[in-house]
Amino acid sequence: MADLSSNFVGIRSPNPFWLASAPPTDKAYNVNRAFEAGWGGVVWKTLGMDPPVVNVSSRYGAVKLNGQRIAGLNNIELITDRPLALNLEEIMEVKRLWPDRAMIVSLMVPCDEASWKYILPMVEDTGADAVELNFGCPHGMSERGMGSAVGQVPEYVEMVARWVKQHSKLPCIVKLTPNITDVRTSARAAFRGGADAVSLINTINSITTVDLDLMAPTPTVDGKGTHGGYCGPAVRPIALNMVAEIARDQQTYRKPISGIGGIGTWRDAAEFMALGCGTVQVCTAAMHYGFRIVDDMIDGLNNWMDSKGYARLDDFVGMAVPNVTDWQFLNMAYDIKARIDQDKCVKCGLCHIACEDTAHQAITKEKDGIRFFEVIDEECVGCNLCMHVCPIDNCITMERVDEGGYRNWTTHPNNPMSTPA
């Protein structure tokens, strides 16, 4: 049995699976249920100044893909619409009930020192373990100069992080918005301001779908729509890249990261952790299937770690970071060719037509007049496309055919900038 317990910038939790700041963590009822189900921690849904915000009806839009009901989810819900005092009271009560679980409180108040100075002591009084600064929410609040409006200006990120560290002893996590050009700039600013960790990604600006009858974006509120924040499985690759960029950046190398973005299984979590995340946060998957999904996340991660011989999380956290590199350092001597297992092939022809129409004309469609799909090695560049379009597992595999060696673009004769080896 591996040890899944986590100590993330002083925040302890029995496992690295936290619920992200979002509707599932809006009140004591839900959070108690989450802890009963086994979640290691929660980031309480963002608190703001009273009077509370007001939310609209019709808040979520979903992207369906080939039977997957929620491949991506978009929301236009704002921060908590309950009074501050009620939230603080419930946070205190839940933390007292569940002392071993991580209780992080998400905050979003106007961009002035007084507001932060006002709210932080009240949060500390609840017994919460840490605060997370919501600099990411891309809809509604950003129109009022908060959320991603702050996260998009590195100077503000640094400034607010500094205020928070000045006015509170609690560990401070800065939640980053992906709606920027280079996420490293925001991360560097957060750590310059004294933040203990960053969490990412918040949601991505999005219009889920357009209702072609109403001629309006969805989710539609009485005939109109607005951009929302996109999350769920579809955003995971974007989140993984942003995490990796921060993890391997010289200025923020190995700094604590809490990973967020389409995580729904132990495998998703393990991937984020391999890229340097000490904990992971989940929302969409729980909203899709309920809190019970954490059961397999815990069990599956445990079994996988046992099978790999990892005794604790730190044994593999960040292990993939050194293997994320720049394109220019990739080995050009490496060569692979597609191989089609004729026993597994069902002869659907998808590999042929993909290669024929859109790639390298490297797959035949017949042999002696009979339907037959075979790779023409001389034409195959090893792009993997056929392997991805093939509907049968392990029918098309890629075989390494080079004779070893290493050469990269930096010394390649075609590179005008090349430096002689």
């Binding site: 080939n66 039977g67 069902v346 002869k347 659907c348 022809g349 998808l350 042929h352 037509i353 469609k365 339907r371 509907p391």
Partner: protein, 444 residues
């Protein structure tokens, strides 16, 4: 109901509720969600084997793709432009030996994509809403006579009408549709054949004269004289006889007549059926007759075939369906005598057979006698020869363009025979013949 020792053929063996259930749609339609799920299983194969296997060449991956994007008009157009009777074919085709049998998903015990059910989903709304997908070209003034309003004739007529040709269909029966109306099991096409025919005819330019039969009140020579071309889609008019003593007895009848009567019955509780039914034959007609007898309330139904299961014309799926319905299948037995009491059938004596050296059945010398109140014969149909066109193998001889030996006379469907005696093949024959006729007419 009192059981009689012989000649026990009575109506009302089941309640009206039971009968309604037994003759309702055997394969209910998919709803949108089921259809989308089924469509998502399609790999969208390139140069797809299912399309190659379809006698009418429906672009199956294309129509399934369109279903998945809610482009039902496009899906229906894909189907019906290749096969104008795509609605009935979706119901009656033995897909397990055609498109679905060729589906690449069949590998490793997987189930094929539900192509037939999806085809029905893509087309059902067309008939329901009366949507016209095709436009008729301006009338060319040319006239073509089509004899027979079965699948071949209807297919030919529609294709010509689209080209602006004026078509007159001559049909012996009171209704159009051919086997779809008179010869297919009721639960496969409930209430559908006439809806499909009227949709097909709604393109315009086609008139149908019922009660007109070649050789009786219709002469080929007159048609040749009055029309620019003639298409013969006559079907098969005769049923093979068993050629054993007792065939004249009461209770012995052709399975096709039993099915036709059932199809035309407006009240199944008044349709007589035997208590103990024996069906002789191995094709789909035999299966349809056997199952429908059971569903009318027959106590025992035995289907007897002189060879083994693999030689039967009915597909493996149809045979399994019959067994599930409680039909007993008896292989390797041939009838030798129909026994009677008081002029009515009472039992049938069979000789057991085994495969001979050439594979044909030979008697073992053993006999078995099955008590029966009703005997339904389904050992194949034959073409009623007509005077005029040359025959080949007992059916009308045609070339690759479905031209007969007589100038300006084409023929297709079961009366020419070909690879298969399937509805879908008849539709293709009619479609090809129409193309050939149009080619000739457009040269005039």
């Amino acid at each position: 109901m009192t059981r009689l020792t012989h000649g026990d053929i009575q109506a009302g063996r089941l309640s009206a509720v039971e009968l309604a259930g037994n003759f309702a749609d055997v394969a209910p339609p998919l709803d949108r969600q089921q259809a989308l799920l089924a469509a998502q299983r399609c790999f969208y194969c390139y140069d797809a084997p299912c399309t190659v296997a379809c006698p009418t060449g429906i672009d199956i991956p294309s129509f399934i793709k369109r279903i998945s994007t809610d482009n039902l008009k496009g899906a229906a157009t894909d189907i019906l432009s290749a096969n104008i009777l795509g609605g009935s074919c979706a119901r009656v085709c033995p897909t397990e030996i055609l498109c679905e049998g060729s589906c690449v998903r069949n590998k490793d015990d997987e189930k094929p994509v539900q192509i037939g059910a999806l085809q029905r989903y893509a087309t059902d709304w067309i008939y329901r809403d009366g949507v016209q997908l095709f436009t008729r070209a301006a009338s060319t003034g040319q006239r073509v006579a089509v004899v027979g309003a079965g699948p071949a004739g209807l297919s030919c007529a529609h294709a010509l009408a689209r080209q602006g040709v004026d078509v007159v269909i001559f049909e012996a029966q009171a209704k159009s549709g051919g086997l779809n109306e008179y010869g297919i099991a009721a639960y496969k096409v409930p209430e559908f054949a006439q809806a499909e025919v009227s949709w097909l005819l709604s393109i315009g330019g086609i008139s149908v004269e019922h009660g007109r039969e070649l050789g009786r009140n219709l002469a080929l020579a007159d048609l040749q004289a009055q029309f620019d071309a003639v298409f013969l889609g006559l079907g098969l008019g005769s049923v093979n006889a068993l050629g054993v003593p007792g065939e004249h007895l009461e209770g012995v009848r052709n399975a096709v007549d039993f099915i036709a009567e059932l199809r035309q019955s407006s009240d199944l509780s008044r349709l007589p059926v035997g208590r103990r039914v024996v069906v002789i034959g191995g094709g789909n007609t035999a299966i349809d007759a056997a199952i429908q007898s059971r569903r009318l309330g027959a106590e025992e139904v035995t289907l007897v075939y002189r060879r083994g299961a693999q030689s039967m014309g009915a597909t493996v799926l149809e045979q399994a369906f019959a067994r599930d319905e409680g039909v007993r299948l008896l292989h390797w037995a041939r009838p030798v005598e129909i026994q009677g009491v008081d002029g009515a059938v009472s039992a049938i004596e069979f000789a057991y057979t085994v495969p001979g050296p050439d594979g044909r059945p030979v008697d073992t010398g053993e006999r078995v006698t099955l008590p029966a109140d009703s005997l339904l014969k389904a050992i194949g149909q034959t073409f009623d020869p007509i005077s005029g066109p040359a025959l080949k193998g007992g059916r009308i001889a045609v070339d690759t363009q479905f031209r007969t030996s007589i100038p300006k006379v084409w023929a297709g469907g079961d009366c020419v025979g070909g690879k298969t005696d399937l509805t879908v093949q008849s539709v293709e024959d009619g479609k090809r013949a129409a193309a050939s006729i149009h080619l000739l007419l457009s040269r005039n």
